[in-house]
Symmetry: C2
Subunit: 322 residues, 2 copies
């Protein structure tokens, strides 16, 4: 016998409201949705959008620091690459998407911002299960700059634990399409919290280190830098570290990183648009090297932030006059 | 040099709108969001909800047929199981969730409905990256009943193609947590469309058949039924077919299903809440068996729909008086 919540006769029927207020608090920020700019707290997506119901979406996040976008062109390259691979299209050119991102930041007034562009599969009037019948949906938003590591963690290094969870493999989802499939990473995070760590690294299908929730990882050993090659997002901060290694004369490679290499490293750091280059000083409860933030890490962090003023890597945001 | 969309001086600033109208058309239906009932076209989720930005969510979908919920208890079991595994909580008991689902259907007036309940990780006021700081968000909606197979396909059988895409493995995401990680299935669908098929099956990590977009698959050979055991959603329609096999005296097993077993089958069918038991008559361009909908499939379809009136498997929805 199935559960019948309330006898039919006893039921009193609630109203179908025209508008349901969302009483939650959201950060500052400005979004672009359905063709107009609005505050971030008003930026909503239909619950029937396949971007929500099937995570059928791609996105990218750039950042603004001291009123300048950092490497926006690389983020646009990756975003438009993801659109093509997912067979999505948007009614905006690359220049128009850049313009929308600039406008979100300008309207928000944020001098340090995290700026996301998103395209979802969208929806069709019939709720068709055929993705070809959906009209894709584009949106963007700027919120205050956030970091994987807080100020204290940046100073003394993050505490990381390695989970046995395997990052969703490339045979399932192409990792060069930046995507929202994060349940593996979220599970890794909870595993890390249980071990007293602050964030997580998860594995690739061979058991080597892959990446963490929103970041790539680098290992420094004898002055040489390595980072996982397989099954990871080709991060733009990761790419920037490659180029900074070139500037500084460090040898670097993308290659398999076994757990032992991580545990036996001189230095470890992670990279993300959300925070840049961030030191790791404890892995699985054990100190990395001498337990202090390493000199190579510090040097790369310094150049990474200096490059935010360089016209090859950054461009000024226009803000409305006060 | 980075792209600078418009010179600062030339820019004219758009308004930040208080409300942005969504002009898309959605199906009929009633939703429950943020504590109130509303029409489906007004049912929205914040773009900052981690259920969207990280697909950090679980859900379930039950259906109503001829004004009766089908096996609602099993759907509630799976939904509450997923909540626990994802360490989410909602401020509603099992009875209250059932009541909300009944009310969505009653208010919608739909006699045949697809009824979804969702819990997302939610959001925090600071946009924190720590999932423990998010307040989880519950929602539900009822829309008209939909089916993987349309009337013609139900009569003559679906045309399916097998893609080489691998279903996200259990080492990455526990498939018993019903989740929205579908980019593998969507890619499989596009592969199938390119081969002229109507829907797709994708593989498990061993290369055997796993499942399709929103459905399990059964193979009938010599009167015995098999369905993949590993790395697939434990579907409730799949479970119902097991029980119907018991009623009808058919032998069945969940075990590895190699591609050859599919190609050499007497009959093939798929199972989903969205459509029930649906015949497949062409796989990879070749007819299954004699190319007609098989007798075992027809018998199971018949009992499956008959059971929708049985009080052990269904319960009446209350509707407001007209």
């Amino acid at each position: 016998m199935q559960h019948n919540a309330v006898a039919a006769g006893a039921r009193s029927w609630p109203r179908v409201e025209k508008v349901v207020p969302d009483t939650r608090t959201y950060p500052r920020g400005v979004a672009y949705v359905d063709g107009a700019f609005t505050t971030i707290s008003e930026a909503k997506i239909s619950v029937l959008d396949w971007g929500f119901l099937h995570s059928d979406a791609t996105y990218d996040t750039a950042h603004v620091w001291n009123g300048r976008f950092f490497r926006l062109d690389l983020h646009l390259d990756r975003f438009f690459g993801g659109l093509e691979k997912l067979r999505m299209s948007i009614p905006y050119s690359r220049e128009q998407v850049a313009e929308i991102m600039h406008t979100c930041v300008g309207l928000s007034g944020l001098r340090a911002a995290y700026v996301e562009v998103i395209c979802t599969r969208g929806s069709s009037p019939t709720f068709s299960r055929d993705p070809r019948q959906s009209v894709n949906r584009f949106m963007a938003f700027a919120v205050p700059f956030g970091s994987v590591a807080n100020q204290e963690q940046l100073r003394r290094g993050l505490h990381v634990a390695v989970s046995d969870i395997v990052r969703i493999p490339p045979k399932s989802v192409d990792p060069s399409i930046k995507n929202y499939h994060w349940l593996d990473l979220v599970r890794g995070l909870y595993d890390a919290y249980e071990q007293g760590a602050e964030t997580a690294l998860i594995r690739d299908t061979d058991g080597n280190i892959a990446e963490g929730p929103g970041f790539n990882v680098f290992v420094v050993k004898g002055g040489r830098l390595t980072t996982p090659a397989f099954g990871v997002l080709p991060g733009i901060t990761r790419q920037s570290v490659f180029e900074i290694c070139g500037l500084l004369g460090y040898e670097y490679a993308a290659e398999p990183v076994p757990l032992d290499n991580l545990l036996g490293a001189d230095e470890v750091f992670i990279t993300s648009t959300a925070g840049g280059v961030m030191p790791v000083t404890i892995v699985n409860g054990q100190p990395v090297g001498n337990g202090n933030v390493g000199v190579v890490t510090q040097e790369i962090m310094k150049v990474y932030w200096e490059r935010h003023e360089h016209p090859d890597w950054s461009v000024a945001v226009a803000y409305p006059e006060a």
